[in-house]
Symmetry: C2
Subunit: 515 residues, 2 copies
């Protein structure tokens, strides 16, 4: 099994159908096959040999799609850089991966000098944008024109297909190495649920393609055939327009994007009734958003995919039918057709249903390992089980409910407090726009439950008020004993709150380091 | 990825749902998990170690299902024996595989002495039937009762999952070794087509479970969750009754079985409208049968799966929508979501669309190899491509049309004649019930086109009549120059005509051996 297999299949079965639609630029599958084989030839001529990492730092585009096929075609290893990171972090990942070649677009070309300075391994830059070619960079279209197609390496199976960097929320970035089989297992297993991707349909890429959430949707769309509709980045209007204009049937979004899409006044004019499947991840969707979404998207089925990059990335699916059951809407779903999932204690023993423990998963979708980090790999994957670091419990029907990151659990006065539970209670206060709950050092309680709150525009509240509100909903020992008000919460590239950063100022001097 | 993963998932998500329905015997998934873990313990106690082959020779049953899970659970390798073979052939396969342990049911217990005599490797027999335990055999239920569950070995990935013997139509049986990943790729890829298996539905096992056609449906049903309804063997009435009584949603049949099901007077009383998916293989379905089937099964979608054991077994799928297009009904479908398929010449170069060559396939579904036959493996799998031995062509949309076994092609007077084409023409004569066309030695033509014909009851025809009839449909040089009439055609376990046997009497003295 190899990532490029689907390209051969699409070019064989639907050569004249659109492979990619990116603004006004439409490429057929037969064009795509030709261009990928030329780009692979160019990469070879630039010295890319078997197993060499080739990076990209770019907004979404049809050339990103070509990159995703061309690197494995050339027998290289994909290394998509996180566009939300600073140049220093990006340079770290390129240097760590040993990526000699980088594709970069207009949006990120200005960061090149800083990246080059901090990533000396980088010797070749290919400009895949449409504007002026930066100094010292090669032009993408020139390279394609200058090279004849080469045959596909067709390497696959357990060989590394790519390295995706992760760790933004928990510390030093780590490269997650995934094989071709890893990625295909997750994609085919998810598609086998029958509720994931319309066969032969059109998938919109609005979430960033560097992230494996969208990357995995790309693999699944290729597996079942169809067309990629691509927008450079998410905007509510851009997404609505693309859905209406290009007959998009499927889209992957994070919950924040769903909310923005259904609430945006400037997106209201577009007909979204062609949308069949909306896949979302990163966090459950609130009932309020789901209700508004059901009105705006009356013909769309919702599927939640839970997992992580290390799981290629899907472990559980919450299917459309599950969304119609009240008690299940807070769940992350059940083990997908390719995955085994269980909840274990610190000794890796399975805990009884309903008991909180760590969510672990096993199967063909578990990563090969962290790039050059055997100790971290051994710590994360034990006896074949990937330890997600997420705390959760499972009900009697196998539905998984995520309660917290294990590291975000607060031990206050000897009691476990799940920050997610406190956050849900806090969020019900009308003055709270968004919030994060962390543990901070406390001489009396060991850790103290502390809230970091963004107030709604024009709203006011005191820490005492919020504590009293919370106590009406959950046990008193879980209510925040202190609170601070901020303008915004720090977010990772995947839209997750960076609690590490929130904790830093409280823990920098204490004996519990930031982990 | 491991075959037992789906058992854990089902027991976790639907512990009280039926895993198997076999006559009056219903077992839930939690019972099934317990029984499988006990059977695995029993196998271990019988000396089955990692990688050891464990055989079964039995009609379909719920215990066959338990065997399929228990052997990998115990870290053994499945070795399902072909129930249609003679005791000598079965013994050959057991001896070849080195299977020390054999499960056998009532139907095949009488063959034990002959098998034991010819397969000295066999030292332990477990009786999995319901009648009297044969002398020297251990009783299945006693073994389960006597052993406590052991943990699942959870070995999978590229490790061998089983050995399926094949070769009945072409000569010496060969053991096809398939890995866990092989089987799961084919199953998930087929299910990802969205037209294969009703999620959470009920699959009827009426085709023999030893054969990988049904075995693969078993893997796919487990992957998407649901229930196995099992009948000991195919009878039209038994199948119709099971569909109507047990809410069967999916079934795998070979075309002959479809014809018998829709035509059988004693099956007419049953309501079959619950059947959603009918998967068939082995050969295309005739328009006449399809029309009758559409009337009898008005709510059923038809999917053809083409492949072979060596492809785990699916390479192409002809989906329900394809069946509604006249010209596609003779096709074998297009490359499935897990497969690459092409048509090549004798030098392995891809031929132009419409040109006949050998059908080859590549992907994660290609077997590990033939058991202990590296030369045959190297001959069959070249540069990752499994060579099917089937002749066919591909149209401009990637649809594959199988014309013949490469070995069944006749070269007469320097012209290639595809026996399938001649057979299709012959079969249109009202007196012909079934037929096979072979090449026989001829001093003038090299090979002569020869027909072996089963006449319809009460019908009559002469070789000259059949030749003249055929010439009205296809070129004169393709029409049979001779014919013989027989009562029945020899069939393989998979229902394929054994042309090798038909050719034997003509070729035994000639220089072209039976291949």
């Amino acid at each position: 099994m190899y990532l490029t297999q689907s390209l051969h299949r699409a070019a064989q079965q639907t050569p004249d159908a659109a492979a990619t639609i990116f603004g006004d630029r439409v490429r057929t599958w037969s064009e795509c096959l030709d261009r990928v084989a030329r780009l692979a030839a160019a990469l070879r001529s630039l010295g890319v040999g078997p197993g060499d990492r080739v990076a990209i730092l770019a907004l979404n585009s049809d050339r990103y799609h070509e990159y995703l096929f061309a690197v494995p075609w050339a027998d290289g290893v994909l290394t998509p850089a996180n566009i939300r990171w600073s140049p220093a972090e990006i340079a770290f990942s390129l240097q760590d991966a040993g990526a000699r070649v980088l594709l970069v677009d207009d949006a990120f070309a200005p960061a090149l000098p800083a990246i080059r300075a901090a990533a000396p391994v980088l010797d070749t830059v290919v400009f895949c944008g449409d504007g002026a070619v930066p100094e010292g960079a090669l032009a993408y279209e020139d390279l394609l024109a200058a090279h004849d197609p080469v045959p596909d390496a067709r390497r696959g199976g357990d060989a590394p297909a790519g390295i995706w960097y992760t760790g933004g929320t928990t510390g030093t970035p780590k490269g997650v190495v995934l094989s071709h089989t890893n990625l295909l297992m997750s994609a085919l297993g998810s598609a086998a649920s029958g509720e994931f991707m319309t066969p032969g349909g059109r998938l919109l890429h609005a979430a960033p393609m560097f992230h494996l959430a969208d990357g995995a949707a790309w693999v699944a769309r290729n597996a079942v055939g169809g067309t990629h509709v691509i927008v450079a980045m998410f905007t509510p209007r851009g997404v609505a327009e693309a859905i209406a204009t290009h007959g998009v049937t499927d889209v992957l979004l994070v919950p924040t994007m769903i909310q923005m899409l259904v609430d945006a006044p400037d997106a209201a004019e577009f007909d979204l009734t062609g949308l069949r499947h909306l896949i979302y991840g990163a966090s459950p969707i609130s009932d309020a958003v789901l209700e508004r979404a059901a009105k705006r998207l009356p013909t769309t089925e919702f599927t939640q995919a839970y997992g992580m990059t290390e799981l290629s990335p899907v472990a559980t699916l919450l299917l459309p039918a599950d969304h119609r059951v009240d008690r299940l809407r807070r769940a992350a779903g059940r083990a997908a057709p390719h995955a085994e999932v269980r909840i274990v204690d610190a000794e890796d023993t399975e805990v009884p249903r309903g008991t909180v423990g760590e969510i672990v998963s096993r199967g063909g979708h578990v990563m090969l390992g962290y790039w050059n980090r055997p100790a971290e790999t051994a710590q994360a994957v034990r006896d074949g089980w990937m330890h997600t670091g997420d705390g959760g419990y499972m009900d009697d029907e196998g539905y998984v409910f995520v309660v917290d990151r294990i590291k975000d659990m607060i031990v206050s006065g000897g009691e476990n407090v799940y920050s997610a539970e406190v956050e849900n209670a806090l969020a019900k206060h009308p003055a709270v726009a968004s919030c994060a709950v962390i543990g901070v050092p406390d001489p009396e309680w060991g850790e103290r439950v502390h809230a970091v709150v963004v107030l709604a525009p024009g709203a006011e509240a005191t820490p005492e008020e919020l504590r009293e509100h919370t106590k009406t909903l959950i046990a008193g020992y879980k209510a925040p004993r202190s609170a601070e008000f901020v303008d915004a919460l720090p977010l990772s590239g995947a839209g997750k709150i960076l609690k590490r950063e929130l904790r830093a100022k409280y823990w920098s001097d204490a004996d519990r380091g930031v982990s």
